[in-house]
């Protein structure tokens, strides 16, 4: 009996810990969002975060998107050749990129590049008393550090995903027309005839949610940092891992909401 209770306790502890953390993250996110509509605002911090998240992430997102489009065209061509369905390559590329791969891969790339940097910066500010210093200078750290980053995340990811969508389709187009023998005009016609507004819009909505999640996990883990350099390292890892898992989980949920019959 005692061993059963011990086993249940061993299962229950991490579950309760997960619930506690989920509650804390939710309250933290709501508090951050509430500062978006309550002055004073910090437009400089918002612009700085937007440039860091959108502009400086462009190269990595662009490279990821173009190679993904190229690989997708190659794979679907060789796969569909077994069913003599090579004509579907263009539509597979455009639907995969706009609905799934653009938002998810851009989200994962930005989580690695920006989410980690947010956690490291805010975590360092926490362990060096800079966050306390903000408070003593009559500045709410949530309003100054968190709210601008959340807004930047919501806006930056859709911008990046528009670029990723275009470059992903371009990658597929280049491979298909230069290596696989597709006619350029026919490929483009096939691409756009199968593409619907909901395909692009669902990707952009997903990316806005992913951007929020990346900023939220970066800020939360940075804000909750304890200890010194080791704590900052742990916060950085936690920010990237948690944001990546949440992106994949929310991708499933949002896909279900948009496309379930």
């Amino acid at each position: 009996m005692n061993s059963i209770l011990l086993a249940l306790a061993a299962i229950g502890r991490p579950v309760l810990g997960l619930c506690r953390t989920a509650g804390r993250v939710t309250l933290f996110g709501l508090a951050g969002l509430s500062h978006l509509v309550r002055p004073p605002f910090h437009p400089r911090m918002f612009l700085r975060a937007l440039v860091e998240m959108a502009y400086f992430s462009l190269p990595v997102v662009a490279l990821t998107a173009i190679f993904t489009g190229m690989v997708l065209a190659l794979q679907s061509y060789t796969g569909f050749a077994r069913f003599s369905a090579q004509g579907a390559v263009a539509s597979v590329v455009v639907l995969s990129v706009t609905r799934e791969l653009g938002p998810v891969l851009a989200g994962l790339m930005v989580a690695g590049r920006v989410g980690s940097a947010m956690a490291a910066e805010i975590g360092t500010m926490r362990v060096t008393d800079q966050i306390d210093a903000l408070a003593t200078l009559s500045t709410d750290p949530m309003k100054y550090l968190v709210a601008p980053r959340l807004l930047a995340g919501i806006l930056a990811l859709p911008m990046l995903v528009v670029v990723a969508d275009i470059l992903g389709v371009l990658g597929g187009f280049l491979v298909s027309t230069t290596s696989l023998g597709f006619n350029p005009a026919a490929y483009l016609h096939s691409t756009f005839s199968y593409l619907e507004t909901i395909d692009v819009v669902s990707g952009l909505v997903k990316s806005a949610v992913f951007g929020f999640l990346i900023a939220l996990m970066g800020c939360y883990n940075g804000y909750a940092t304890r200890g010194g350099a080791e704590g900052v390292g742990a916060a950085t890892t936690a920010a990237v891992v948690s944001a990546s898992i949440l992106i994949l989980a929310f991708d499933y949920v949002l896909t279900g909401l948009f496309f379930s019959q």
């Binding site: 500010m125 060096t128 008393d129 800079q130 210093a133 003593t136 200078l137």
Partner: protein, 258 residues
């Protein structure tokens, strides 16, 4: 003691972290215009005390009044208004890495007092001059400065908005004795010029005597001695005697485990 209201009044302040009682029942009065130095060994709760007064840590029990107002009851806008009356020099400076020196110094002017950036930059240059730094230091970033210069910039930031109360957390930690004396001299000059009330915590005895009018010793979560800073070395209190003389023999037992 006269019937004047103390600038800072602390009663029954207690704070524990888990099982560890850091502050048990701290009582302190700091009169307007005086400089109080709180001394005590490492880990005795000096920083916790100052952070409780600043509202950065919520105490478990007790009251803290600043100019007769209970700061623990303040929230939001009222707390930010209270912060507008204080300046704080953190132990490691706590300068904002991502901002140039002038913006660090002018941060409170811009955030609290809505001073325009151009004017705030000019005023930051003047304040840097008051702590012995050239105005062109303002264009540098904190990581480009030496430890002594960072402390001066942190002091400049603390005094920028001419606060009524100044807090100093270990102002000379990490500095050589000469630079420590220079920083202490600047602190005394600034406090006198502004007419502020000052509360400093330190375990540097030379610094304590230079900065303080009064001194109090924190040990075991309580104030065990309170008197003129000039009498620190002949206080007659066994705790203070052991601490000031750095003796291993006496009532203070160092905890080797946290």
């Amino acid at each position: 003691m006269s019937g004047a209201v103390p600038k800072v009044r602390i009663r029954g302040l207690a704070k524990s972290f888990g099982e560890k009682k850091v502050l048990e029942s701290v009582d302190l009065d700091i009169m307007a215009g005086t400089s109080l130095v709180v001394i005590g060994g490492s880990g005795t709760g000096k920083s916790v005390l100052i952070k409780c007064v600043l509202g950065l840590i919520e105490p478990d029990a007790g009251t803290i009044e600043i100019a007769g107002e209970n700061v623990l009851a303040l929230s939001g806008r009222a707390r930010r208004a209270m912060y507008a009356r204080i300046g704080m020099l953190f132990q490691n400076g706590a300068l904002f890495d991502s901002l140039p020196v002038w913006e660090n110094v002018a941060f409170g002017l811009i955030a609290r007092h809505r001073v325009r950036r151009a004017e705030a930059r000019a005023r930051a240059g003047e304040i840097l001059g008051q702590v012995g730094l050239e105005p062109d230091v303002g264009a540098l970033f904190p990581h480009e400065l030496s430890g002594g210069m960072q402390k001066r910039v942190a002091l400049a930031r603390a005094i920028a908005a001419t606060p009524e109360i100044l807090f100093f957390d270990e102002p000379t930690t990490g500095l050589d004795p000469i630079m420590g004396a220079v920083i202490d001299g600047l602190i005394v000059d600034c406090v006198k010029r502004l007419g502020s009330t000052a509360i400093a915590i330190t375990h540097d005895m030379a610094s304590a005597r230079r900065i303080g009018d009064r001194a109090a010793m924190l040990h075991g979560g309580r104030i065990v001695w309170d008197g003129p800073a000039g009498s620190l070395f002949d206080s007659g209190n066994p705790y203070v005697e052991q601490f000031t003389h750095g003796s291993r023999e006496g009532p203070i037992r160092m905890e080797l485990r946290g």
